[in-house]
């Protein structure tokens, strides 16, 4: 697969991105620097490489300068990698012969006050990109057949709308609803604006259509229990509750739409809720109105923003002002003499019809008072009834209103069990608890995971028309897959070397996707094989394999090693930035979190250089050690939060490996705090900044890593990370930790023991390499009791790593055996 006998000809394109990069990084000097890098035959700088002009420049340069590798140094691969890969492809170059260097989101945007250091960092990052590019190989995409069916989870207005739209396109839909009845939140709501239509009645035609549609298979009282597979080929198990019995349904779908809706917050402890029966939420008011159980109300006070905007949740729930106004008008209509007051912290209606509704409310005599969030209203029982007391900000006086009904406008919140669904589907939840979309602006109804889409209030609070529009939207998005007979997936897959593989079975066991099987080639001869179509390219097996028999295409060990070696080259350094930290980040979470820090312009010190891998599971123990041989003072391993790994298992392995290597470092007399672990989600830009700052401060205290002083010790650590027995144990224990809760202390003691055994065994065998000895002699040399020597030595004897050299009377002398 490697390119031999072909001269590498690299083109480097450095982007100004307007002033986003150019305003901080000295782009011309980066270009100059790139010219001198090995293999670089062409350089160019662009104002916006992603523009038509920039892309055309790349496409022209490839044939004109005979480029067989392209490096673009600009924003982040997470936005433009597909664009530049396509440009290469269109110019006849395999799209995997392209490398992306992030000098904006992870450089210029986060080091705005240190332009010189940012420039030096940009140069180093370009250097790392160039050495990686030189080692890239062409890869093919894999085409996978598509099941043109969909599963829609949730049969509220959003779920029903999207299901009907997809079914009307001629595709089969499995519609899964948790409750016994379909219709969702609208079943409980009284009326909808515009039109003041009866909510449930307006939904009935759709309910009928859903139940009668020949292409919709409806499951009620059902939950999704299992989702395996990937875009075009999801394997699903749904469990249906029927009369105390559970029935399982298994089927395959090509796409999934999440339309699970939301709930309404119950403001326990606020404003007398659950204390006084006259205090209720807007939703409870809807239900009472619908059931005609409200009774006559003459003094109504509504309080807005109860629990939202920083109280129990951080966000504004978008619809509450309009809902309150709608209900206020309704109540006023029922009883024109009633006093209806809305106490608010700003009326947040927007657009055309809701602003109109606000005006109408004022015309019908609904009164609005702005309260101060610093002095929120109080609901008290006085003179036999309720009173609401507050400070009216605009007239600057204390006021109080009698109330025979207090309505609290509380926010919509995510269902508590959404976390289960998020884990099943392996899709993230945002900081606000709602499902997290691929991109807030440009991909609001997509998940990052291909083939899964999102609509309605499962995404965030919204009005019915907005949910419906989104539902038609997800039907459209899903159709972009359903209308195809094949989709392309990544070429980044695992290859297992049959000559190195010993058939231990670890990779097959840990692969979340069941992509590896063990073949039997002969009696006692086993070998693992990875299925390219099922492999998702996480690389966890690569980092786990005890014999290091597995290669991940496009993220090979030698490619990553080249980046590690070129990260810090003191001879090239014009400004010394210490401590030097090398960070490994996973594409989905921590790398995205680093980008988020950039987008948010959180500033942090320029000491860290990031190497991207697809999953933290790819981070092999050797990567945690090797940087120290190449001038690093600290190493940072980052990934998704435990339980949120995009590939499910990767970070469990990363975590265990970090503990393992820290233990090795400790044994070798190197401060284990130089190796750090951090979990960052894609939304946690602030946390990423803090992670870097923490690493810089703490490693600064440890001082620079003195390679010369610790060289031999580091070599021992390196031997430890490459030790197949230890690697196997680490892999197995990581897998175990997924199901069995292991305490920190337990893991610590465990590693202590196994590493000590290995270390000691190593010490003994190397001792016996140079001269023979008795057991007692070994005990004396190593200053450990005889019984401990026996413990370490027994397995060596057993496997022939130690053998007798001669007898002195009745005393055996031992030397290093032939077997290792």
């Amino acid at each position: 697969m490697t390119m031999t006998n072909e001269e590498v000809r690299i083109g480097v394109f450095v982007c100004h991105c307007g002033t986003n990069i150019g305003g901080t990084v000295d782009v011309p000097s980066v270009v100059e620097y790139a010219k001198g890098l090995p293999g670089v035959v062409y350089t160019e700088r662009n104002l916006y490489t992603c523009s038509d002009e920039g892309v055309t420049a790349i496409k022209n340069a490839i044939p004109e300068h005979g480029l067989n590798r392209v490096v673009v140094a600009s924003c982040t691969p997470r936005t433009h990698e597909p664009l530049f890969r396509r440009a290469c492809q269109e110019a006849g170059l395999n799209p995997y012969l392209f490398d992306f260097v992030n000098i904006r989101d992870q450089c210029s945007w986060v080091h705005m006050k240190e332009p010189e250091k940012a420039t030096e960092k940009a140069k180093d990052l370009v250097r790392m990109g160039v050495v990686r590019a030189a080692r890239l190989e062409p890869l093919e995409y894999i085409n996978i057949g598509v099941e043109n069916t969909t599963m829609v989870i949730g049969a509220g207005v959003s779920g029903m709308t999207t299901a009907l739209s997809i079914a009307n396109r001629g595709f089969d839909v499995y519609l899964v609803e948790k409750e016994a009845e379909i219709g969702g939140m609208l079943r409980k709501i009284n009326t909808l604006y515009p039109g003041n239509v009866d909510a449930f009645a307006s939904l009935e035609p759709a309910i009928k259509k859903v139940k009668e549609h020949p292409r919709i298979k409806l499951f009620t009282s059902s939950l999704v229990k299992r989702v395996d597979g990937y875009v075009g080929n999801f394997e699903v198990t749904v469990v249906e509750k029927e009369n105390e019995e559970e029935k399982e349904h298994n089927f395959k779908v090509g796409t999934i739409v999440v339309a699970t809706g939301a709930e309404v917050l119950k403001p326990d402890g606020l404003y007398g809720y659950s204390e006084y029966e006259e205090v209720m939420t807007q939703m409870e008011l809807e239900e009472k109105l619908k059931e005609k159980k409200l009774g006559e109300k003459r003094e109504v006070v509504m309080i807005q923003c109860v629990g939202s905007r920083g109280q129990k949740v951080a966000y504004c729930s978008r619809i509450c002002c309009a809902v309150a106004i709608k209900n206020a008008i309704l109540l006023k209509g029922k009883n024109p003499d009633a006093n209806i007051h809305i106490l608010h912290n700003g009326i947040h209606v927007f657009g055309v019809e809701y602003e109109e509704l606000y005006r109408k409310a004022m015309e019908t005599g609904v009164r609005f008072d702005k309260y101060s969030p610093e002095k929120p209203p109080e609901v008290v029982k006085e003179d036999g009834g309720l009173k609401v007391k507050f400070f009216s900000e605009l007239v600057r006086e204390e006021r109080e209103y009698k109330a025979d009904l207090v309505v609290l406008s509380t926010p919509m919140v995510q269902h508590p069990d959404a976390i289960d669904l998020s884990k099943l589907l392996k899709v993230p939840l945002g900081l606000d608890g709602f499902f997290f979309e691929a991109h807030v602006k440009l991909r609001p109804i997509d998940f990052s995971t291909d083939g899964i889409f999102l609509c309605g209030t499962a995404h965030s609070p919204k009005f019915v028309p907005e949910s419906v529009a989104e539902a038609y939207g997800t039907a459209s998005r899903a159709s972009t897959i359903l209308t195809k007979s094949e989709v392309q997936t990544e070429g980044i897959v695992s290859d297992i070397s049959q000559s190195i593989c010993k058939g231990c079975g670890l990779c097959a066991e840990i692969c979340e996707y069941g992509a590896i099987k063990i073949n039997m080639y002969g009696p006692g001869e086993f070998g693992a094989e990875a299925n390219r179509a099922l492999c998702k390219g996480c690389g966890t097996c690569v980092g786990a394999c005890p014999y290091q028999a597995i290669t991940q295409r496009h993220f090979r060990d030698d490619q990553i090693l080249a980046q590690v070696k070129s990260a810090y080259v003191p001879e090239e350094e014009r400004i010394e930035i210490r401590p030097r930290i090398l960070a490994f980040c996973c594409n989905w979470c921590s790398y995205a979190g680093a980008d988020m820090a950039g987008v948010s312009r959180f500033q942090y010190p320029p000491n860290a250089k990031l190497i991207r891998v697809m999953c933290s599971g790819r981070i092999d123990p050797w990567m945690m050690v090797e940087p120290f041989f190449h001038h690093a003072d600290g190493v940072l391993v980052t990934g998704c939060h435990i339980g949120d790994c995009h590939y499910v298992v990767g970070n469990y392995h990363a975590e265990m490996r970090v503990k393992f290597v820290q233990k090795l470092l400790e044994f070798a007399g190197i401060d284990p705090r130089r190796l750090r672990l951090g979990w960052i989600s894609a939304a946690e830009g602030q946390k990423f900044k803090e992670l870097i700052e923490g690493a810089v401060n703490e490693i600064k205290e440890l001082g620079p890593f003195e390679l010369e002083k610790h060289y031999d010790a580091l070599v021992t650590v390196k031997e430890g990370v490459n030790n197949p027995r230890l690697r196997w144990i680490v892999g197995k224990i990581a897998e175990t930790a997924r199901y069995v809760k292991l305490e920190e202390k337990e893991i610590d003691a465990f590693f202590d023991e196994i590493i000590r055994s290995e270390f000691m065994a190593e010490k003994v065998t190397s001792m016996l390499e140079s001269e023979e000895s008795t057991i007692e002699g070994i005990s004396e040399m190593l200053s450990i009791p005889v019984q401990d020597v026996l413990k370490y030595v027994a397995p060596l004897m057993d496997r022939g790593a130690m053998q007798i050299s001669r007898m002195e009377g009745k005393k055996p002398f031992f030397i290093r055996g032939r077997v290792r």
């Binding site: 009326i347 209606v349 529009a469 038609y472 195809k484 312009r601």
Partner: protein
């Protein structure tokens, strides 16, 4: 070409682009008709987008390129829909393409003609909202798609007077022989199964709100003009300057609801201004540590995902000052600095504030020409010019005519996120309707 599987998208802004891409990926053939000479719309003019403060053109450009390069999409730029007949499943549309006097196949966007034009930098640039200059031969903007020059037929010396120096300067300069003064208006006939209207917005220019001095006081500008100023690719290279004397602007005032929520002008709420004013304050502070920003508001409408948190950040981290006031008037002092006269409604005090720049967040309205288009399409508009929908609850992207859909600002004021989601919605409906029709026939 089977008319059934084709869709016409009118408007090449982010909503039109999203709808076109969705449909193209479902193997529909899409015609994207754009009135101006490049797709990209308003989003291409912005510097950053709230609430992530992503670089606007950075996230839009790949979509523009993908759209233009897609084998299923034909972009007709500098073109307008003139006639529509037929019905859902079978529309015949006549599109008139204006001559740009430049051959799209030959032009590489090298800008030689732009530099050579004898009238270079003589006219106000539309993309820069009148703050920048262009010549008669010009490129719409740096990241234009298609990246092809345009010659303004109303200004070009050769076209209007028959003579431009010895020979037309642009023609001389062009190495690709792409200048073609023989180009004529072209009429293209399309057969489509569905139509999506995504014509976007125009900015209200408040000359008639005399008390605010727009058009009279140099240092009073609109929100989109500010956006062009702070954009690194804009007329001032990203520097915030006083238009009167070119000195750096240090104190900014944003006035919200100018023309919006106004019974005399636009009674509705333009939905995005509270957010973009806060964004503008944040961007100013990023440029210069000592920038001071004041946002004069009535209600801060921060209702979307992440919006409220964004406003809090604007206040706490970027030091934006929010003043609850609707200024009574803006005057100009001897230094040509605007002076704002207002009542702080939370304290009751009457105050005056001198600033360097006043940015009026003016009402946003449906695009000019939408009335004519609505007549052509035979769809109904509401009293403000927004396209009416068939059922405001359950058919929110269907217009009053079957087979014609709407997305984005053309339907009602909304931001990019909601426009993109709605555009996918319109694409979903268009696809559904065409497929249904095909199944039946």
């Amino acid at each position: 070409m089977n008319g059934n599987k084709c869709v016409l998208v009118i408007g090449g802004g982010v909503a039109g682009i999203q709808a076109a891409l969705d449909l193209a990926e479902q193997d529909f053939k899409v015609y994207l008709v754009e009135k101006t000479s490049s797709i990209g719309g308003r989003m291409a003019q912005l510097d950053k987008t709230f609430p992530t403060n992503d670089c606007s053109i950075c996230i839009l450009a790949p979509k523009m390129l993908e759209c233009f390069g897609h084998e299923n999409i034909t972009v007709l730029s500098y073109a307008e829909v003139k006639e529509v007949s037929g019905e859902k499943g079978d529309f015949t549309v006549k599109v008139r393409k204006k001559p740009r006097y430049v051959d799209e196949e030959k032009c590489t966007g090298c800008s030689a003609c732009v530099d050579a034009c004898l009238l270079k930098d003589r006219f106000l640039d539309e993309f820069d909202m009148g703050l920048g200059k262009r010549g008669a031969a010009y490129l719409p903007f740096a990241q234009a798609v298609p990246r092809v020059a345009v010659i303004d037929e109303e200004r070009c010396l050769f076209i209007t007077k028959g003579k431009c120096g010895k020979a037309p300067a642009c023609k001389e300069a062009c190495e690709r022989d792409a200048i073609d003064f023989e180009q004529k208006e072209e009429e293209v006939e399309l057969h489509v199964g569905a139509i999506i209207v995504a014509t976007g917005l125009d900015v209200y220019e408040p000359y008639e709100i005399e008390e605010y001095g727009y058009g009279r006081i140099e240092n009073v500008i609109t929100g989109l003009q500010y956006e062009r100023m702070i954009n690194a690719g804009g007329p001032t290279g990203g520097h915030l300057v006083r238009l009167s004397d070119g000195k750096p602007a240090k104190r900014l005032a944003f006035i919200l609801c100018v023309g919006s929520r106004d019974l005399k002008r636009c009674p509705y709420c333009s939905s995005v201004c509270c957010m973009y004013a806060t964004k503008s304050g944040m961007l100013a502070r990023e440029h210069e540590e000592d920038m001071e920003s004041f946002v004069f508001y009535t209600d801060i409408r921060a209702f979307g995902r992440g919006f409220h948190e964004y406003i809090e950040r604007g206040m706490e981290e970027y030091g934006i000052n929010f003043v609850r006031a609707k200024p009574g008037k803006i005057t100009e002092n001897a230094n040509k600095s605007p002076v704002i006269w207002y009542e702080d409604t939370l304290t009751g005090e009457l105050k005056r504030m001198e600033v360097d720049l006043v940015i009026l967040a003016t009402a946003l309205m449906p695009s000019k020409g939408v009335e004519e288009l609505a007549t052509t399409l035979e769809v109904e508009l509401d009293e403000y010019g927004f396209l009416k929908v068939k059922d405001p609850l359950y058919a929110p992207v269907d217009t009053t005519r079957e087979g014609i859909f709407v997305a984005g600002f053309a339907q009602s004021p909304k931001d990019i996120t909601d426009s993109v989601a709605q555009a996918s919605g319109a694409a979903g409906r268009a696809g559904e309707v065409i497929s249904f029709v095909s199944l039946k026939s």
